[in-house]
């Protein structure tokens, strides 16, 4: 790790000022990705702006039918929240399946989606559940938020404040963990809202999380595993590494999607 200036603002305004004033600043939420990267000297920010002292970023609440989760809410808090369990049990289950207890007690929803790791779980939830990302500047629809590997619509001095999830009729998330890291090699979130189905896939895509439109159409017509039985994503657009080829990931997407539909209906 190289030396850096450490900031711990206690308000959103102060945080924005700190990040805007830094030469090459980074925002740190739970630090689950950034700190290991810095320790390995693969990242060398001049400044770290720690969001953990800002009260506005914390908490879980309901706004009518909308579930609002503060950006600095940890995975463990989401996993154990009765509000989340009552609203979207699949989201609590997803949070419970992230990393290990240490990660779940440090990592945050805001940090996860701002980082947009292609193998992270939360991007599938935000995209699949058609959430809205509320920032210090605006509201961003999930479809507009994720722009590619480790890339989002966030501007440099824009902070995520909270994430707002509409209530789905049915939803489930099923993942196939990478045997070594246990990140999602393929993770599929399926959500049924009114008559429309969204299918968001993480872990598999070369550009990070994405929606499987053909599966969405098929499932919107018939919300059953059988309706996507013969449906496979083209391997060309999928990741390949020592743990799984693109063809294998394509196969797993279908298997996990079927299992997610079964879980959502079961």
């Amino acid at each position: 790790m190289y030396n850096f200036q450490y900031h711990k603002p206690d308000s959103l305004d102060a945080a924005v000022t700190a990040i805007a004033g830094a030469e090459d600043g980074k925002i740190v939420a739970g630090g689950m990705t950034l700190l290991p990267t810095m320790k390995q000297r693969l990242a060398a920010p001049t400044d770290l702006v720690d969001l953990s002292a800002i009260p506005d970023l914390k908490g879980i609440g309901l706004d009518g039918d909308t579930l609002v989760i503060g950006a600095m809410t940890t995975h463990a808090e989401v996993a154990h929240s009765d509000i989340v369990k009552g609203h979207t049990p699949a989201l609590a289950g997803l949070a419970e399946g992230i990393g290990d207890p240490q990660v779940r007690n440090r990592g945050t929803i805001g940090g996860s989606i701002a980082n947009n790791d292609p193998t992270a779980d939360y991007p599938a939830a935000v995209l699949g559940l058609n959430a809205t990302v509320r920032t210090t500047k605006r509201e961003i629809a999930a479809d507009d938020f994720f722009e590619g590997l480790f890339t989002t619509a966030l501007e440099e001095d824009e902070l995520i404040v909270s994430v707002a999830f509409p209530k789905p009729a049915k939803a489930a998330y099923v993942k196939f963990p990478n045997p070594a890291s246990r990140y999602a090699m393929v993770g599929v979130l399926v959500a049924l809202t009114d008559d429309h189905v969204r299918v968001a896939i993480t872990g598999a895509g070369q550009d990070g999380v994405f929606r499987a439109s053909e599966m969405e159409a098929a499932l919107s017509a018939d919300f059953s595993p059988q309706s996507i039985e013969e449906m496979a994503l083209p391997a060309e657009s999928l990741n390949a590494d020592i743990h799984g080829s693109a063809e294998y990931r394509s196969h797993l997407v279908t298997v996990m999607a079927k299992r997610a539909v079964a879980a959502a209906t079961g």
Partner: protein, 790 residues
């Protein structure tokens, strides 16, 4: 019998300090004025070094010194790390093992090959300075694949070793074996890859050099499985310092699995830098450094064949193996794929003819050396995969096929065609016990139940044998070993009656402090809490050969036994004098000397006191009660057993679940059954790791290590394995006074074949380790051809 003595499942004495964070590992040691080292390493798999400019690095804040191989040479540290075992080629010529320099000055041969040591006031400063170190590299073409290294046109690593071949060695009778195959009714053939593994000790390697200029004395705290051997190598081969000026301390060491047998560059470099700077110098590996530079294990590519007659009797076995040595031939690197491998190819079976050829090849990868099992897992995998495959080919029950070909209990001593003389065992008994524990009879019903759920179930056996407790020194020498593999012990009574055991063995997780104390309890009647086992310090312990190859109890324990006999013999003289009896009338049991036919008695503690306060003392007997013994074994020991894995495969994903795992082992006499069971568990998990999860992968194109962290190297976790069913068969070993055989490696030796035999039983298709979900899915989706082409 003493309640805490031999056979008692005593809780481990050392665990209190480990579990409460009070163990003293190398990185816990800090010396006044200590500086920190960072090692500059090659980023390339193969390159010439065109120059090293230290000036910019030396000018960085906090830097105390930057040293290269040129500096070591200038100060007389001119030696290299040796290959400790001479292997001869088939034509009788010697192996080609150019030296393994401490720090490279001319050429680097793997990613991570050390080039310089940078020492600074803090670790961060040392790292900063290392980034400014200017090392000129001229990249060379590289080869990392085991099967590619000896091919025509492959990039060459060492001028002294054409075709990257260190040796082309063979064992067994070629003509007889070919004749056996010519007569065979059936020949089973397998192409086998024994995957490369990274050892992954919980404690990364560490070294702390502390030079005392007044005494001209080096002290090196290091993560070693054998501190005396480390000192010997650093003195005799590396020329760091003469042995009497070098003290090696290996305190609590957090696991080794073989990887801490060898002397590594960092240890020499830290000791040297401490001498140059007159400051203690500490280095601790980061986890990625461990993946990159701890000696790797296995990495064989073999073609193996088994010949059988029309009745299902084995006629012969032959195998051609390419063994990857990595960039340099390491300490046991040449012995592991030869004498520790091919000598076990008879397994538990009567095989009239065996012939093995092994090519030891250099590649641009981390050196490969002994890793838990060391050659014997590779041998067991060849034998047991062939046996299982042959049984299936012959439509015989795999258990029946084994039973038919087993060496029978009345055939010992049994000479195999590959040098070994098995001294005892009972293979059919272990098989019967394992079949019972595993409920083999119920397997068809369980398989049907799995199939009803859309799953595939398989069962697989592994009837392994290993050779432990290496070995009579004369035999080791005759086979090319550079040392004698005896062991030592000193037993010292205190005047107040406790016993201090100084052992040449080294515990880095094995529980010696408990097991050895139990021996003392049984031999001398001293309670285990009054026994202190001291190991891991060349200043405190007699010269010993260290711990590896499941040898500590069989060889080191036998040295303790021998020393205890000497103690009793001397104490008996003193007791006879004190009780005014003839020595022949004095008997010793449970810590007390008695005179036959009288009520006279003296405890051994009373005798110890008399020995140190010899006011009333026998004439001609020296004061004091302390004895040393060196024990040279009579033979290898041959632990053996039968492991059975039962797996269930999800055909949708290719995920293999181990449903049950049964292990029945014959370790001879068991001293502490709880520790033995723990060793079995750990070994099985490592074996399961190799079979299903672990794979050390180099990128063929770039030569970079792809599995340099736990993000990509798949270590087994608790939820990857079931609870194990463990059973024992005990045939006491006739070759040592304890009757023991060794248990540390059995699981890692047996489990891979058991798991892969179960996986292939479920799939009906051959597949290589590790049986990852993708490979299993591919085997199911596309059949055998695609897998073979992989």
């Amino acid at each position: 019998m003493a309640p805490d003595g031999i056979g008692a499942p005593l809780r481990r004495k050392e665990d209190k300090r480990f579990l409460t964070g009070q163990g003293r590992y190398v990185d816990d040691f800090n010396r006044p004025g200590q500086a920190y080292a960072y090692i500059a390493r090659s980023p390339f798999p193969h390159a010439g070094i065109t120059g090293i400019d230290k000036a910019s690095a030396e000018a960085m804040p906090g830097v105390l010194g930057v040293f290269t191989g040129h500096d070591l040479a200038a100060d007389g540290v001119t030696g290299a790390l040796p290959a400790g075992w001479m292997i001869h080629n088939r034509d009788g010529s010697g192996m080609r093992t150019p030296g393994h320099p401490i720090l490279q000055t001319e050429r680097v041969r793997y990613v991570g090959d050390p080039v310089a040591i940078v020492v600074a006031e803090t670790l961060a400063q040392a790292k900063d300075a290392a980034e400014r170190l200017e090392i000129g590299y001229d990249e060379l073409p590289h080869v990392v694949g085991t099967a590619d290294a000896a091919a025509d046109g492959a990039p060459q690593l060492h001028d002294e070793a054409p075709n990257n071949t260190a040796f082309f060695w063979s064992l067994g009778d070629k003509d007889k074996t070919e004749a056996a195959f010519a007569d065979a009714a059936h020949v089973t053939t397998l192409d086998i890859v024994n995957n490369r593994l990274a050892p992954n000790a919980m404690e990364p390697r560490a070294a702390l050099g502390d030079y005392d200029p007044g005494m001209d004395q080096y002290t090196l705290y290091t993560t070693s499985q054998n501190p005396h051997v480390a000192r010997l190598v650093m003195s005799a081969f590396v020329s760091l310092a003469p042995e009497h000026k070098l003290r090696v301390v290996a305190p609590d060491v957090g696991g080794g699995f073989g990887s801490k047998i060898y002397v590594y560059s960092e240890e020499v470099a830290c000791a040297y830098a401490s001498m140059k700077l007159r400051r203690p110098v500490k280095w601790t590996a980061e986890r990625t450094e461990s993946f990159m530079t701890d000696a790797h294990g296995r990495d064989h590519v073999s073609k193996a064949e088994l010949a059988t007659d029309a009745d299902g009797r084995i006629l012969g076995l032959r195998v051609r193996t390419y063994a990857n040595l990595g960039g340099y031939a390491n300490l046991f690197g040449t012995a592991t794929p030869t004498y520790l491998y091919a000598t076990l190819l008879s397994g538990q079976y009567i095989i009239p003819a065996i012939y093995a050829e092994v090519d030891g090849v250099y590649t641009n990868t981390t050196p490969v050396d002994a890793y838990r099992g060391a050659g014997r897992p590779e041998a067991t995998f060849v034998v047991e995969r062939l046996i299982e495959r042959a049984a299936r080919d012959l439509k015989m029950d795999p258990a029946d096929f084994r039973r038919k070909n087993f060496i029978q209990p009345d055939m010992y001593p049994y000479e195999t065609p590959v040098l070994m003389t098995y001294d005892c065992g009972n293979y059919p008994a272990a098989l019967d016990e394992a079949l019972k524990l595993a409920d083999h009879a119920g397997f068809p019903a369980r398989r049907a139940e799995s199939e009803a759920r859309g799953k595939k179930r398989g069962i697989g056996f592994s009837a392994y044998i290993e050779a432990c407790g290496i070995a009579p020194s004369a035999a080791v020498g005759a086979l090319g070993g550079g040392v004698g593999l005896w062991e030592s012990a000193t037993l010292r009574f205190t005047p107040t009656g406790q016993v201090i055991v100084n052992t040449g063995s080294h515990s880095h997780g094995q529980g010696h402090e408990t097991t050895f104390a139990q021996l003392i309890t049984s031999y001398l009647g001293i309670p285990t809490d009054q026994v202190e086992v001291v190991h891991g310090d060349t200043d405190k312990t007699p010269f010993g050969m260290g711990t590896y190859g499941s040898r500590s109890l069989a060889v080191g324990g036998s040295a303790i036994h021998k020393a205890a006999e000497k103690i009793v013999a001397k104490a008996k003289k003193i007791a006879a004098h004190l009780m005014e009896a003839a020595e022949v009338d004095v008997e010793f049991a449970d810590g007390t000397f008695t005179v036959k036919g009288t009520d006279k008695s003296k405890t051994i503690q009373e005798i110890a006191f008399a020995a140190y306060v010899p006011h009333n003392y026998p004439e001609g007997v020296e004061p004091g009660l302390e004895e040393s013994a060196f024990y040279d074994p009579l033979n290898f020991t041959f632990p053996a057993g039968v492991h059975i894995a039962e797996v269930e495969i999800d055909p949708d994903t290719g995920v293999v679940e181990i449903v049950t795992f049964t292990a029945v082992d014959d370790f001879g006499t068991v001293i502490n059954p709880m520790i033995v069971e723990g060793q079995v568990h750990g070994g099985i998990v490592q074996g399961v790791g190799q079979a299903l999860l672990e794979n050390c992968v180099y990128d063929l194109e770039s030569g970079q290590l792809l599995t340099g962290s736990y993000m990509d190297y798949c270590m087994p976790r608790a939820d990857d394995v079931p609870s194990f069913k463990v059973g024992m068969v005990e045939t006491p070993n006739p070759s040592n006074p304890l009757g023991v055989k060794g248990c540390g490696e059995a699981g890692a030796i047996a489990a891979p074949a058991a798991v892969m035999n179960a996986v292939t039983d479920a799939l009906g298709v051959e597949i290589n380790m590790p049986a990852t979900p993708e490979r299993v899915w591919q085997a199911l989706a596309t059949g055998p051809a695609a897998v073979a082409a992989e």
